[in-house]
């Protein structure tokens, strides 16, 4: 039913932040002047009966849209155009080594229960993620902070363990929501934040209603609806039906198969963006034959990427280039030479590795990404022409992430991507991190690992661009992961709705902030 919605998707991925990247500009939609009013009814996939307002547990789109996108705020925000702007923080500055960060907080902000927002709230909200026994997905971010100091009621200073130029971006992560200090438990139980909408009713996995607060610091630039009703509809046919029959005004995750029918309906508009979400085939590079860079190169030329985009994503995606940095990242290397299907080159590299032909197993399950097994079979067919025999092993979906991923030498996987280059690389490609699914830390990755550390502490944008471009180039030609494609976010709304000139591409539904940014025309 909700294959893309699996908890893993978000857990592994996607927080906010598109460093100066490109929100997708859409033409044709009516760009009327925003106006207040109306109830936005949404049919949202990715809801669970175990949902709560605890940002640490959020991993699926429903709660991200309701908490991050309606009820709570973060310190920073990535806007629809992909730029980092302040949310509860007004401004911030770093020491030259990017180790000490000072955030100036917005004044006059109150929580929904009337408590004023200040420095204490920031510190306590961050400490939640490293509390004893807390299994927060944002723990690596917060545990990198050595010290948090309250400078005044509206100024906080963070001292990091090591310099990190991306720190303000990390503060836009949807897990790191601002809760009222001393009332965290009540706030988690009832959903008390500083956001544009306050909770009216919340039935986990079924329905949530939130209403606009009377006055808010975003007045005049966001929050146009009077109230939002979010109905959990995990079944994709039911969700599409609900939009087509006008029961809801917007739905996420449009079913690719019915997308043409919806496009033909004049009352429905489809909005589609290419972000950082990508599907991968990681190889364990410490296991033969993948320890041979020539074998890896041969496999990179043995896959027909365009065919995968056309047949697995039905065109709703883009060809990727064997590195995890996507079009929503600031330093995405657009002009990198594209690895493409070339059986002769694959044969050549195989010969370099001293082999005439090669037989390998590829483990796949649709738990990895929708259509993963079909994708593996297409790979099998295209690799055959290069003398590479791929045995596709269909693994059970249950327990896939525990028993296959990180365990089998070659398997299918997906990543929803990260807002920043360093975040993505340090999650899955830095030597020694737990999710390193290609284990690429041998001699031949030395330069890559060195650049990773250099880039993190570098504040100069041009130098960072150079560093990250080089890292993408190295991964693309020698890395241990095949990244054949980026998968688009495809959502749909009633044509009664209108939106600004840009649609965020960091996450589905306009960066999960449709409730803030859209209005009834």
């Amino acid at each position: 039913m909700t294959r893309l919605s699996r908890r893993g998707l978000l857990q592994t991925g996607a927080a906010a932040g598109v460093l100066g990247a490109m929100g997708t500009r859409t033409f044709g939609a009516s760009h009327s002047e925003p106006k207040r009013g109306g109830t936005l009814r949404m049919g949202i996939a990715g809801a669970n009966t175990s949902d709560s307002w605890d940002g640490r547990t959020h991993s699926d789109s429903y709660m991200i849209m309701m908490a991050h996108g309606c009820v709570f705020d973060c310190l920073t925000e990535v806007n629809a155009a992909g730029e980092l702007v302040g949310e509860l923080a007004e401004s911030w500055e770093a020491s030259p080594d990017a180790k000490v960060w000072t955030f100036n907080l917005r004044q006059g902000v109150t929580f929904h229960n009337g408590k004023p927002f200040g420095a204490d709230d920031v510190i306590e909200s961050l400490q939640m993620h490293v509390a004893e026994g807390a299994k927060s997905a944002a723990k690596p971010i917060v545990s990198a902070i050595a010290e948090m100091k309250k400078m005044s009621d509206h100024q906080v200073q963070f001292t990091l363990e090591a310099g990190n130029a991306d720190f303000p971006y990390l503060m836009s992560d949807y897990h790191i929501l601002m809760f009222p200090a001393g009332q965290v438990q009540e706030a988690i139980a009832g959903g008390i934040g500083t956001g544009l909408y306050k909770v009216e009713s919340f039935d986990p996995g079924v329905r949530t209603v939130v209403s606009r607060v009377d006055s808010h610091y975003k007045d005049g630039r966001a929050g146009w609806f009077d109230s939002i009703e979010a109905i959990a509809i995990n079944d994709s046919t039911a969700r599409m039906n609900a939009l087509m029959t006008g029961q809801v005004d917007a739905v996420n995750r449009v079913d690719f198969k019915t997308e043409p029918l919806m496009r033909a309906n004049p009352n429905v508009m489809i909005f589609e963006v290419t972000g950082n979400q990508h599907f991968t085939f990681p190889m364990l590079t410490n296991v033969a034959p993948f320890n041979d860079v020539n074998v890896r190169k041969a496999l990179k030329f043995a896959v027909n990427r365009q065919e995968l985009v056309d047949k697995i994503l039905l065109g709703h995606g883009a060809v990727a280039n064997d590195h995890p940095i996507g079009p929503a990242n600031q330093f995405y290397a657009r002009d990198l030479p594209q690895n493409s299907y070339d059986p002769d080159k694959a044969k050549f590299h195989l010969k370099e590795a001293g082999m005439e032909n090669l037989t390998i197993d590829l483990s796949a399950s649709d738990a990895a990404f929708p259509g993963a097994v079909d994708a593996a079979q297409l790979y099998q067919a295209s690799a055959g022409a290069a003398g590479i025999t791929i045995n596709v092993i269909q693994e059970p979906a249950d327990g896939y992430w525990s028993n296959v991923w990180l365990k089998k030498p070659w398997c299918a996987c997906y990543w929803s991507g990260r807002a920043t280059e360093d975040w993505m690389f340090s999650t899955a490609y830095e030597a020694g991190v737990p999710w390193n699914d290609s284990q690429w830390d041998s001699e031949d990755s030395a330069r890559f690992q060195e650049l990773l550390l250099l880039g993190r502490a570098e504040l100069d944008t041009d130098k960072r661009r150079e560093i990250y471009h080089e890292m993408q180039a190295i991964m693309s030609s020698e890395g241990g992961t095949i990244v054949p494609m980026y998968a688009n976010y495809v959502d749909a709304a009633s044509s009664k709705l209108a939106h600004g000139p840009d649609i965020g591409n960091l996450w589905q539904m306009d960066g999960s902030r449709i409730a803030e940014r859209w209005w009834f025309a």
Partner: protein
């Protein structure tokens, strides 16, 4: 009447035994599925440490037998525990055991929604089936009989979701008279709730009518060959009266049984309909819980389902005994 009381008691004891067996079967079956709660809830983030931590929190590291008897001891005290999802979450925010949302808290609203749907469906389907059944028996082998048979058999033979989509097409898309989304919630007026429930109830009516109608028809026709019916006919009683007054009371036992069976189905077997219409019933909760291997919820749901079958069958048996003087006064 003493014999009826004894039968009820006997059946109730047997029913409890059945529930015990069901609970054992479900417990082992869920455990035999690949993956467990910790792996399911963590997904891609299932590092060995995180999996171990959750297993330890929830006691999943204990042997199967120990866990079962822990659960059983709680259940016998009426404490169905907290779902794994809630227990895991509570350990997260440091909530006390007493503050946790229990399985019963979670199930109660869903179960009452399911009962509402079942009641609405039964209120439509049972009278229609009996009425059609009697008419079909009365005009057996006529065009009406054939038409009713073909229609109900076609609808029972089609997959539920297909019927649901057909009804949505005709009643929600082409002629928007009913909402295709049945997201009922607390605080709705009864009329709203009824309107939202109507489409799933109509779909289920199509699913269950054939069974009840054909049983009514068959039971009545079976009796029509009896001498006492012939006697009634010879007395010159009208065919309608023969059936309603003379045949139907004697055909009640099998009809009650098949009605009970279908009511039990309405309580336990409507997951597909719930998904198609986004109806927040117990079926969806059950399927979600199986998906994440949340054993306390799965167990509670299964016990409710099993109890529904047992009680409805018991009720059917009692009603058939009461409707039949020969059974009421055994020699």
């Amino acid at each position: 009447m003493g014999s009826v009381a004894r039968i009820i008691l006997q059946r109730l004891v047997l029913g409890l035994l059945t529930l015990l067996v069901v609970s054992i079967v479900i417990f082992t079956a869920v455990n035999m599925l690949p993956g467990d709660f910790a792996q399911a809830i963590l997904g891609q983030g299932a590092t060995p440490e995180a999996v171990d931590a959750i297993r330890k929190d929830l006691g999943l590291d204990q042997p199967l037998v120990v866990r079962y008897f822990d659960w059983l001891a709680g259940a016998l005290r009426g404490d169905m525990g907290s779902s794994f999802a809630q227990a895991n979450f509570a350990s997260f925010v440091g909530a006390e055991a007493g503050e946790r949302v229990t399985v019963l808290d979670q199930i109660a609203p869903r179960f009452s929604n399911t009962m509402f749907l079942a009641t609405v469906t039964a209120a439509i389907a049972v009278p229609i089936s009996l009425f059609l059944g009697v008419l079909a028996a009365l005009y057996r082998n006529s065009v009406f009989d054939r038409a009713a048979n073909i229609f109900t058999l076609t609808s029972i033979s089609s997959p539920e979701f297909f019927l649901a989509y057909i009804l949505i097409l005709f009643l929600a898309v082409l002629n928007p008279v009913l909402p295709s989304l049945s997201n009922i919630f607390e605080g709705m007026t009864f009329a709203d709730r009824l309107e939202k429930t109507l489409l799933p109830a109509l779909t289920l009516t199509l699913v269950v009518t054939a069974h009840m109608m054909r049983m009514t028809r068959a039971a009545i026709i079976n009796l029509l060959a009896s001498p006492y019916i012939e006697m009634a006919r010879l007395k010159g009683i009208s065919p309608m009266r023969v059936i309603v007054r003379h045949a139907l009371p004697n055909a009640l036992a099998p009809i009650i049984n098949v009605v009970a069976l279908n009511l039990a189905y309405l309580i336990t077997g409507v997951v597909v309909i719930e998904v198609v219409f986004v109806y927040p019933g117990i079926g969806q909760l059950f399927v979600d819980s199986v998906k994440i291997r949340d054993i306390p919820v799965v167990q509670a749901c299964c016990l409710i389902f099993a109890a529904a079958y047992i009680l409805l069958n018991l009720m059917a048996d009692i009603l058939s005994i009461l409707s039949n003087p020969r059974l009421r006064h055994p020699k």
